[in-house]
Amino acid sequence: MSAVFTPIGEQVKQDLQDTGPPLQDRSFRWVLFGALSVGIITLAALLIFVFLEGYPRLTPTLWQNMPSIRFPEKAGAQSAIMGSIWVIVTTAVICLPVGIMAAIYLEEYADPTKRFNKLIEINIQNLAAVPSIVYGILGLGVIARALALGQTVITAALTLSLLVLPVVIISSREAIRAVPQSIRAGSLALGATQWQTISRQVMPAAVPGIATGAILALSRAIGEAAPLLLLGAVTFITFNPDGLMSSYTVMPIQIYNWISQSREEFQVLAAALCIILLGILLVMNAFAIYLRNRFQRRW
């Protein structure tokens, strides 16, 4: 026997009927979708444009030859590619240990209620947002001139290290914080010292996250041009760096130089070098995403 419901009337029946979301809600969804596509379409347009423009010059001469102002058809970017490698490797060697150690201090040792630590905290957040050209001024005034390191690979690497240090610190801290407190407690309860706990338990567990952040920080450094404009990278360089005190140029600056030339062939060259730079960044980002997905641990 089925239950008998109290009659509710036609009006309620109609109200409960699903007529789909009202017009306003549907159009709002489309507005959101439209906004989202602005970024995606521009990104696609940029990638396609650069690729079409630069593809004809994406030939071995591009990485086999040195830059030339007179013969665009023979010009290459080998000195810029080698310069970028020199600068980035040096930057990594300087900024990763410093950044990771700073992160360890802030997460594992620092008492966040102390004024000194609060100061460091705000300071790092601010440094992350200081315009990159200001770091160029710092490099020019302090590292190149006051420390007299000149316009060299090491000056560029030190400057870029300071520039990406906040990124390294912030991402390493997140990775360290994600290691559960119970792991630390377990280790300390066995009589391990704090550093033993950090170096043998916390850091190994945090490595994938730190590596992901480090790659993203370095990929920012490799595309950075503004501060290096002040640090001598614009000079016309037709040789590969041979040491830390060598003159240098890097890919983004070489692109900038070629864009500034009036002849159309140089625009094509610039686009071709953009493709190489984007390719390198793509590989780095893909590797970072792979690390994140492969080693991410669910606690």
């Binding site: 979301p21 809600d25 969804r29 507005v31 959101l32 979708f33 906004a35 989202l36 602005v38 970024g39 521009t42 940029l46 444009f49 650069v50 423009e53 240990p97 410093v98 150690m101 700073a102 360890i104 201090y105 040792y109 460091i120 601010n126 440094l127 947002a129 200081v130 315009p131 990159s132 050209i133 200001v134 770091y135 160029g136 001024i137 710092l138 020019l140 005034g141 302090v142 001139r145 006051a146 240090l165 010292t193 550093w195 993203l216 595309g223 950075e224 041009a225 503004a226 404009l229 002040l230 983004p252 692109i255 900038y256 864009i259 686009a271 730079l277 984007l278 960044l281 980002n285 995403i289």
Partner: protein
């Protein structure tokens, strides 16, 4: 026998004092503190690097002439040091960027936080990350070669080759990821309970998003906006490539304009002798840029703390 040595029931002696002095443990801590303190040293270095030459500059050029002068030609034989053309160029281009990025970034954040399914989000966020990772010199190239020469000059034939509009539009796209991801963080931090309360009253998703989530996340959204603006003001390569190097106190966005950053880039890439007035102008403009962005960054950090305190 010290007070801390004692005898266990079995008869063996034990001590709870440190078995070794653990100097390594302490040395490591000192090293770690030094690394963290380096960030403070960086700030001090920036301030010192900027303000010492800037101070020397202001002994030659009165600060009022600098801030309120309308002519900027510091490297000419007959130099003028009015920074207003650079400031206005910066603000015009930043303004265009904001017109693009604030609405687009906010709406994108609403979509990601409230509408997108998990799967969609997993695809969209890396795309935004890629957008954020494009080197700005490539954005500049795109602005000059595509936006100006393919789009703008075909729509408005009297657009100059270097113009504020294309630089501003592309810069807007550049800061979309900053604004979108920070706003999304703020919206995601809004507790579920608030949303459910509104749904239980029969609100639609649009109403919940606009009337509950956005107001609740407002301080975080404001922080995202301010940080985005700060990034736009400090951006160098797009404007250096696409907006030209002509100081221009004008609101005509089809004309070229020099910004504070592109002046620094241009003047700094030439080899100015240390101590010359040309060298010092770099630092004076840099100091102004630093102060403007610093105020915005600090404001933004404050706003972020505010919502974190409420919801976390």
């Amino acid at each position: 026998m010290s007070t801390n040595s004692s005898t266990v029931a079995g008869g063996t002696e034990f001590s709870l004092q440190r078995s070794s002095p653990r100097y390594g443990e302490r040395a490591i801590k000192v090293l770690l503190v030094a690394c963290a303190a380096l960030s403070v040293a960086t700030t001090i270095g920036i301030i010192w690097a900027l303000f010492v030459p800037a101070f020397q500059f202001f002994q030659t050029v009165p600060i009022t002439d600098f801030l309120f002068g309308t002519q900027w030609s510091p490297l000419f034989a007959d130099p003028e040091f009015g920074v207003l053309p650079l400031v206005s160029g910066t603000l015009v281009i930043t303004g265009i960027a904001c017109l693009v990025a604030l609405p687009v970034g906010l709406l994108t954040a609403m979509y990601l936080s409230e509408y997108a399914a998990d799967k969609t989000r997993r695809v969209l966020k890396p795309i935004l990350e890629i957008l954020a990772g494009i080197p700005t010199v490539i954005f500049g190239f795109f602005a000059l070669e595509f936006v100006t020469q393919v789009l703008l000059q075909n729509i408005w034939p009297n657009t100059e080759v270097f113009n504020a509009l294309s630089a501003g539009l592309v810069m807007g796209v550049m800061i979309i990821p900053t604004i979108a991801s920070l706003s999304e963080d703020a919206m995601s931090a809004v507790p579920r309970g608030l949303r459910e309360g509104a749904y239980a009253l029969g609100s639609s998703k649009r109403q919940v998003t606009l009337k509950v989530v956005v107001p609740a996340a407002l301080s975080g959204i404001v922080a995202a906006f301010v940080l985005g603006v700060s990034r736009a003001i400090g951006e160098t390569m797009i404007v250096a490539v696409a907006a030209g190097l002509q100081p221009n106190l004008s609101l005509n966005v089809f004309e070229g304009m020099q910004t504070m950053t592109s002046f620094i880039a241009a003047a700094g890439s030439g080899d100015q002798p240390t101590g010359s007035i040309g060298y010092q102008t770099i630092f004076a403009v840099g100091a102004l840029l630093f102060v403007m962005t610093l105020l915005m960054n600090l404001f933004s950090i404050r706003m972020v703390r505010k919502y974190r305190e409420v919801y976390e």
